[in-house]
């Protein structure tokens, strides 16, 4: 008897850890108490098809696609002791009717079956109902290729329709906002978009009207879906009912290459996927990272990439000869720049860098300033207003990085004195890296004219490039590799989705060669990895990190005390049990 007393039952072992035992398709696993059945299946590696369920939204359970068969131990008669089999589990009594996996939680000794006949039949039936009024739009639908309806009808549907009657007609091609098009015939009433606008975007403009098969998603009369987070509904939509105007009919999704990188429009550094074909960016979508941007990103940031494709890009290094820019080679441009700088006293030179540059670039900028022996080194501040969700007040993506890499709590503090110096004439040569000085930096065209030497690197032919004596074409964020530190102190990685146009170069190479041209030393930084390693050796916070260690989701390297409001909001919702998270 002593044996049975010491050997604990699986239920007790699990209970000690706050877990429960669940049998999923015949395999027993332990999952945390209170887990939704659908999440338990995910843990077990079993996919449960679903439309309306989303971990970051409430679960209304209205699509019925996630039906599974559930079983519990039979209820005991009064005074009856539970019977355990050899493995220590009670026998499961399977229920004859299915339950939805998305809104039910697991219990001790529960059985879930996703492969039984009843489940297969249910899925087939639900798919058939979904497709009754669905138009045959796939050839013109932007969702094709990433459409849940397509995927699940292949996996779980019937190959032929039994519906001979006329399909219900609904509004098609409706402009419901400046950036979004709605096709009601394609809609399957999962209500994800409605819940998103209500719960996350906090502007509940969407809702259902009509009843039965005529149920239609619509915008509140007199309103538009113009919220700055509206395009997330397009990502959420499991079918092609909501599509983006910007991406409309641009390219089929199966041609696009996905590159994981980060957004550079504000200090949050939302994780994104850049979708490219050839060297052209077609769209940008948010990528899940529960420590940065959850699953969302603002429209203003998402759509800010067209200048990379179509803008007036600088494609070759240029030198101004008699007031005219002439294309030249990299070697000549950099040597020319180094020679020109040597004619100035160290006090007459200023370096204006950008907090839009990566850590590696900023590290090289510091080396550049050290080589020139100038003290005048600054970034340009961009302060806007936080929207209380994901957009940070700091619109520079790498201010934290600049602080760490330069070991300077106020990396933008010298800009004012540089500006004064230029106006007074004490600063005669400026190196502007990745910044248009006539914008946030606050220089006027006259200020730039006063300069005896202006060297700039940028991606677009802007007024600063126009005024520059030497122009060095750089790379856009989608063409760069490197790392940045976001507002919370998280080190994240940029990956290149495209290559820079023409002769333009990734900025770190440009800076490396610039530093080498000035110092006259041989190249000891062959790759970005070696540059990062040099950075990691020099800066305490980066110690032990490598580019590959950063991974797709980044690593926390310092605590700044800043938080991202939307994440705090979602954390609170998760604690209240409103969302799975």
């Amino acid at each position: 008897m002593s044996d049975t007393e010491t050997a604990k039952l699986p239920k007790d072992l699990a209970a000690d850890k706050g877990m429960v035992n669940v049998q999923i398709d015949g395999t027993w696993i332990q999952v945390p108490r209170g887990t939704r059945m659908i999440e338990a299946c995910k843990i077990a590696g079993v996919e449960v098809p679903h439309y309306c369920y989303h971990p970051k939204l409430s679960s209304p359970g209205n699509c019925r696609m996630c039906l599974v068969q559930m079983g519990m131990p039979p209820r005991l008669a009064p005074g009856q002791d539970p019977e355990y089999n050899d493995d220590g589990y009670q026998e499961i009594g399977w229920m004859p009717r299915p339950v939805i996996a998305c809104a039910n939680t697991v219990a001790e000794n529960m059985g879930i079956s996703t492969k039984s006949e009843i489940v297969t039949k249910c899925r087939e039936g639900v798919m058939e109902f979904m497709l009754i009024n669905h138009p045959l739009d796939c050839p013109i639908c932007d969702q094709a290729g990433e459409c849940r309806l397509q995927e699940f009808s292949v996996e779980h549907g019937k190959s032929e329709s039994r519906f001979k009657e006329d399909k219900v007609k609904k509004p098609k091609n409706v402009q419901i906002g400046p950036r979004i098009r709605l096709d009601d015939e394609r809609c399957i009433m999962c209500s994800r978009c409605i819940r998103f606008m209500d719960e996350v975007a906090d502007e509940p403009v969407l809702g259902f009207t009509e009843r039965g098969t005529h149920t239609t998603v619509a915008v509140y009369p007199g309103r538009e879906l113009d919220n700055n987070y509206g395009l997330n509904t397009v990502d959420l939509c499991p079918v092609g009912a909501l599509t983006s105007n910007d991406f409309r009919f641009q390219m089929r999704t199966w041609f696009l290459k996905e590159t994981k990188t980060i957004d550079v429009n504000c200090a949050t550094g939302a994780n994104i996927t850049v979708w490219t074909r050839g060297n052209k960016i077609f769209r940008i979508t948010p990528r899940e990272n529960n420590d940065v941007n959850s699953n969302w990103m603002p429209d203003s940031h998402r759509l800010n990439f067209h200048h990379i494709n179509d803008g007036a890009r600088l494609t070759e290094p240029m030198v101004k000869v008699d007031g005219q820019h002439e294309a030249t080679s990299w070697q000549l441009a950099l040597e020319g720049a180094a020679d020109a700088l040597k004619q100035f006293d160290a006090k007459e030179i200023a370096v204006i860098a950008s907090a839009r540059q990566t850590n590696e670039e900023l590290f090289l900028v510091r080396a550049l300033a050290a080589e020139l022996e100038t003290e005048a080194l600054s970034i340009v501040e961009r302060i806007g207003e936080s929207d209380g969700k994901l957009i940070s007040a700091d619109r520079n993506p790498n201010t934290t990085g600049a602080k760490l890499v330069w070991q300077n709590a106020k990396p933008a503090s010298q800009l004012e004195s540089i500006r004064e110096g230029v106006r007074k004439g004490s600063i005669k040569a400026v190196i502007a890296l990745g910044e248009d000085l006539t914008e946030e930096a606050g220089f006027s065209a006259e200020d730039l004219e006063k300069l005896e030497l202006l060297i700039s690197s940028n991606i677009l032919a802007n007024p600063t490039a126009q005024a520059s004596d030497i122009v060095l074409p750089g790379a856009a964020f989608s063409e760069k590799r490197g790392s940045m530190v976001n507002i919370t102190g998280r080190l994240q990685r940029l990956n290149n989705a495209c290559v820079p146009p023409g002769d333009a170069r990734d900025d770190w190479m440009l800076l490396r060669d610039f530093v080498l041209a000035i110092s006259g030393e041989a190249n000891s930084i062959p790759t970005l990895e070696s540059l990062f390693n040099a950075l990691a050796e020099n800066i305490e916070e980066f110690q032990g990190q490598t580019l590959s260690k950063i991974g797709d989701l980044g690593v926390q390297i310092t605590e700044t005390g800043e938080t991202i409001p939307l994440l705090e909001y979602e954390k609170a919702r998760k604690e209240r049990g409103e969302i799975v998270g």
Binding site: L136, C138, P139, I140, A144, K172, N173, R248, F249, Q250, M251, R252, W254, F255
Partner: protein, 188 residues
């Protein structure tokens, strides 16, 4: 591998003498020569030969009216019986095309267009005939029955650009097809 030893064939006396064999060969040649002069060769009828042997005197004589229905010539776009261009630029042909001969620039149909309800059509549709291998995958994959391999086979051009069939040229070759796709009709 087993080794098989071959023995030389035993020659007859006439073969050993060589000349009778030469004469034999010449007789065969002469028979054909005479037949072709009289226009009585075997292939004259069946293969539409010129009469001088089985050889067709291309391009003076051509196969064209003999081509079977299923002949796979150049791929081309078709319009339907009411003049709607069938292609909706779903780009499946571009995707499936093994030599990557097809390139499509999709575009939206303006809302004042007669076929605005179709929403999408190609702005540009190019098939590079120097790349095309006439495999017919594009025809097979097309969900709108918009691209067909027609009976034209002689594609010539004086430059590479010349060999790229643009949308206009493709519709010119393709012509009109009737039936098959009804989903964009007025009643639907």
């Amino acid at each position: 591998m087993a080794i098989k030893k071959l023995t030389r064939p035993k020659l007859t006396l006439s073969e050993k003498l060589i000349f009778p064999t030469i004469l034999k060969g010449m007789a065969v040649t002469m028979t054909h020569a005479i037949k072709s002069v009289l226009g009585k060769t075997k292939a004259a009828e069946s293969l539409k030969g010129s009469g001088t042997g089985a050889t067709m005197q291309y391009p003076e004589t051509k196969w064209d009216d003999q081509l079977p229905e299923y002949y796979r010539g150049v791929p081309a776009l078709v319009t339907d019986e009411i003049g709607r261009e069938r292609c909706v630029s779903c780009q499946l042909c571009e995707f499936i095309c093994p030599p990557k001969a097809i390139s499509i620039l999709p575009g939206e149909i303006p809302s004042d267009d007669e076929w605005a309800k179709v929403e999408k059509r190609p702005q540009e549709f190019d098939i590079d005939m120097t790349r095309c291998i006439y495999c017919g995958m594009c025809e097979e994959v097309c969900p709108e029955q918009a691209i067909f391999l027609r009976q034209d086979y002689a594609v010539t051009g004086t430059s590479r650009e010349n060999m790229v069939h643009n949308k206009e040229r493709l519709y010119e070759i393709g012509g009109v097809r009737e039936g098959l796709v009804n989903k964009w009709n007025e009643v639907k």
